[in-house]
C-alpha cells in the first residue's frame, strides 16, 4: 500500500454493491419468515469470559459509569430480549475482536446473528442452509461429526487419544516448549486449524457437529456414544468457517459454572478476569425459551459469493485503512 492510495477503499465498487445486495437478501429472508429485526448495544458494560476471545475495551464515561466493552457478539443482549418474550429475532451487527487480523479476520466485522424460538440445532441448521444456499446458490451442506472430521484429516480420535499422543501430533508445527503450554483443547484447535479446516467443505458445504463438551461454549451437552458432546455446529464452505450455532443452554446455574470455569482458564493463561454479566444471567434464570441461535460472518459470506481469498477485498476499509 503506497502512501498516496491509503485513503482509498480496498473493496471494489462491485464488492460494495454485492454487500448491499447480500444485506437486502438477508433482510428479505427473515421478513419472509417473520423473524423480527432488532438492535442491541455494541458498547456495553460487560465483555465475554471466553478464554480465546478478547474484546476491545472502551474508555467511555457517562451518567456516572466508567468504562465498557465493544461487543464480541450481540449474544447476551439478544438472549435478554428472548427471555423478555421477543420471539424469534435477528440482528445485523458490527462486532469487535481484539488482536484478530489476517486474510480471514478483521478486528471489526459484520455479524448476522439470529435465534429461533422452539428450534433445536438440527432445525436451525436447515434454516442456515436455506439462507446460505439461497444466497450462494451452492449445494446443501452435509453433516459430519467433529470426531469423523478429525479422524479423516488429522488421524486423531479427539475423544479417545491420550494427552501425550495428542501433544506428539502437534510436533509438526510447534516446538516442545510451546506444546507444553497448550491444553488438550489447544492441541485440538491446532490440528483443527492446520490439518482439518483447509479440507472442510471442499466438495460441498459441511456442517461440523458434535463438538467435545469442553468446547460447548453456550450450547447444551448430550451424551453420544458414551462421550459428552455439545449441540454446537459450524458451517464450512471451501475451507472457510462461516458460522457457529448452538442449541442454546437455558440452565442458569450451568451457565454460571461455565463462566466461572472460563475465568479460571483466563487466570491460568495470564488474562484478566471478566466480571460476569449478571443481567444476562438473571435473564437466563428468569427463563430463556427453548431456542437455537447462530452467528454468521457476513464478510466471509461475501468472500465466498465473490470468490475472494482475502477479507480486505470485501471491506471498504480494513483495519490498516480504518
Amino acid at each position: 500500500m503506497t502512501e498516496e492510495s491509503a485513503w482509498r477503499p480496498s473493496a471494489s465498487p462491485a464488492a460494495l454493491k454485492s454487500r448491499a445486495q447480500q444485506l437486502a437478501f438477508a433482510r428479505g429472508f427473515f421478513a419472509e419468515r417473520e423473524v423480527l429485526e432488532v438492535e442491541t448495544p455494541v458498547l456495553a458494560q460487560h465483555g465475554v469470559t471466553d478464554v480465546n476471545l478478547d474484546g476491545v475495551a472502551a474508555d467511555v464515561s457517562a451518567a456516572g459509569r466508567e468504562g465498557g466493552w465493544l461487543q464480541t457478539s450481540p449474544e447476551y443482549h439478544m438472549k435478554r430480549l428472548l427471555a423478555a418474550g421477543s420471539g424469534s429475532i435477528y440482528q445485523v451487527s458490527k462486532v469487535f475482536r481484539n488482536g484478530e487480523r489476517g486474510r480471514r479476520h478483521n478486528p471489526e466485522f459484520s455479524m448476522l446473528e439470529w435465534y429461533r424460538v422452539g428450534y433445536d440445532d438440527t432445525a436451525l441448521m436447515a434454516d442456515v442452509a436455506d439462507l446460505v444456499c439461497g444466497w450462494l446458490d451452492c449445494a446443501r451442506p452435509v453433516q459430519v461429526s467433529y470426531r469423523d472430521a478429525m479422524l479423516a484429516w488429522a488421524k486423531v480420535d479427539p475423544f479417545e487419544i491420550s494427552d501425550e499422543d495428542l501433544r506428539r501430533c502437534c510436533e509438526q508445527w510447534l516446538e516442545p516448549d510451546q506444546i507444553a503450554e497448550l491444553d488438550r483443547d489447544g492441541c485440538l484447535d491446532l490440528l483443527m486449524s492446520f490439518s482439518v479446516e483447509p479440507n472442510l467443505g471442499r466438495d460441498s458445504p459441511e456442517f461440523i457437529v458434535g463438538y467435545p463438551a469442553s468446547q460447548a461454549a453456550l450450547a447444551r451437552v448430550s451424551v453420544v456414544d458414551g462421550h459428552p458432546v455439545a449441540h454446537r455446529f459450524e458451517l464450512y464452505v471451501d475451507g472457510l468457517e462461516l458460522c457457529n450455532g448452538y442449541w442454546e443452554l437455558v440452565d442458569a446455574s450451568e451457565q454460571r459454572r461455565r463462566f466461572e470455569a472460563d475465568n479460571r482458564l483466563r487466570q491460568q493463561s495470564g488474562k484478566p478476569d471478566m466480571a460476569l454479566d449478571e443481567a444476562f444471567l438473571d435473564a437466563v434464570e428468569t427463563g430463556l425459551p427453548d431456542c437455537a441461535g447462530v452467528a454468521l460472518g457476513l464478510d466471509r459470506l461475501l468472500m465466498l459469493k465473490l470468490g475472494t481469498r482475502d477479507i480486505a477485498e470485501v471491506l471498504a476499509f480494513p483495519f490498516e485503512r480504518a
Binding site: 480465546n52 489476517g102 483443527m192 493463561s269 495470564g270
Partner: protein
C-alpha cells in the same frame, strides 16, 4: 531488550529466532471458531538467507533483533574488508567482510552509496541500489549502424561485473545496469 508479541507481528519485522536475526516475510493469523489462535509466520534468516516457517500461539512473543539499515558510502577494500562510511555526516566507518558483501562485490564503486544492514552494530549484508552506473573496460569493438538491431555481447565493467550489452556499446562508455537482474538498461550520456 524489546520484544514483539503476536499482535505486533507483520511483514518486515526484524526478530531473533534461535539466536539468529530474521526478517518476517509473511504473517498469517488463524483461529478456529471459538478456539485458540495461532500465527503462522514465514521468516528469512538474515545470517543464512534460509526461509523458515514457524507457528506461534497467540500471546507468544519474539525478541526484537538489533538490525538496522543504514546508507553508507563505499570507500575502498584492503583485500580482507570492504570499508563503508555513514552518509549522515558522522564519517563513522564500518568494515564489512566477504560474507556480508557477498554478490554485491561486483557492483561496488567507490563513493557510491549502498544500504548496509547492521546487526549488533556490525555489517551483516550490503545491498546495492537498484541501478548503478559503471564504465565499460572491455568488450568487442563497437559496430556502427542500426542501433536498434538485436544481438548482444558480453562487456566487462569497471567493478569486474560482466553484463550482456547491445552490439553498439564500446569501451569507455558508461552504462546504467539493473543490479537485481544484472541487465543492461541504457547508455548514460556524458559518461
Amino acid at each position: 531488550m524489546a520484544s514483539y508479541s503476536t499482535n505486533e507481528f507483520r511483514g518486515g519485522l526484524k526478530v531473533l529466532l534461535d539466536g539468529d536475526p530474521c526478517i518476517m516475510l509473511e504473517n498469517e493469523f488463524v483461529k478456529p471458531g471459538k478456539g485458540q489462535a495461532f500465527n503462522r509466520v514465514r521468516l528469512r534468516n538474515l545470517m543464512t538467507n534460509r526461509v523458515w516457517d514457524r507457528t506461534f500461539k497467540s500471546g507468544e512473543s519474539l525478541e526484537a533483533a538489533d538490525v538496522i539499515d543504514q546508507d553508507m558510502e563505499y570507500l575502498y577494500t584492503d583485500g580482507e574488508f570492504w570499508h563503508f562510511m555513514l552518509t549522515d555526516g558522522s564519517f563513522e566507518q564500518y568494515p564489512a567482510d566477504a560474507k556480508a558483501v557477498g554478490d554485491t562485490v561486483k557492483w561496488l564503486k567507490e563513493q557510491d552509496v549502498y544500504t548496509v544492514t547492521l546487526y549488533n552494530g556490525a555489517p551483516l549484508t550490503v545491498t546495492p541500489p537498484n541501478f548503478v552506473e559503471l564504465e565499460v573496460v572491455d568488450t568487442d569493438p563497437g559496430m556502427k549502424g542500426d542501433t536498434a538491431q538485436g544481438g548482444s555481447k558480453p562487456a566487462t565493467l569497471s567493478t569486474g561485473a560482466v553484463v550482456n550489452v547491445p552490439l553498439f556499446i564500446t569501451i569507455g562508455e558508461v552504462l546504467k545496469v539493473d543490479t537485481r537482474s544484472g541487465d543492461y538498461v541504457s547508455r548514460v550520456k556524458g559518461g
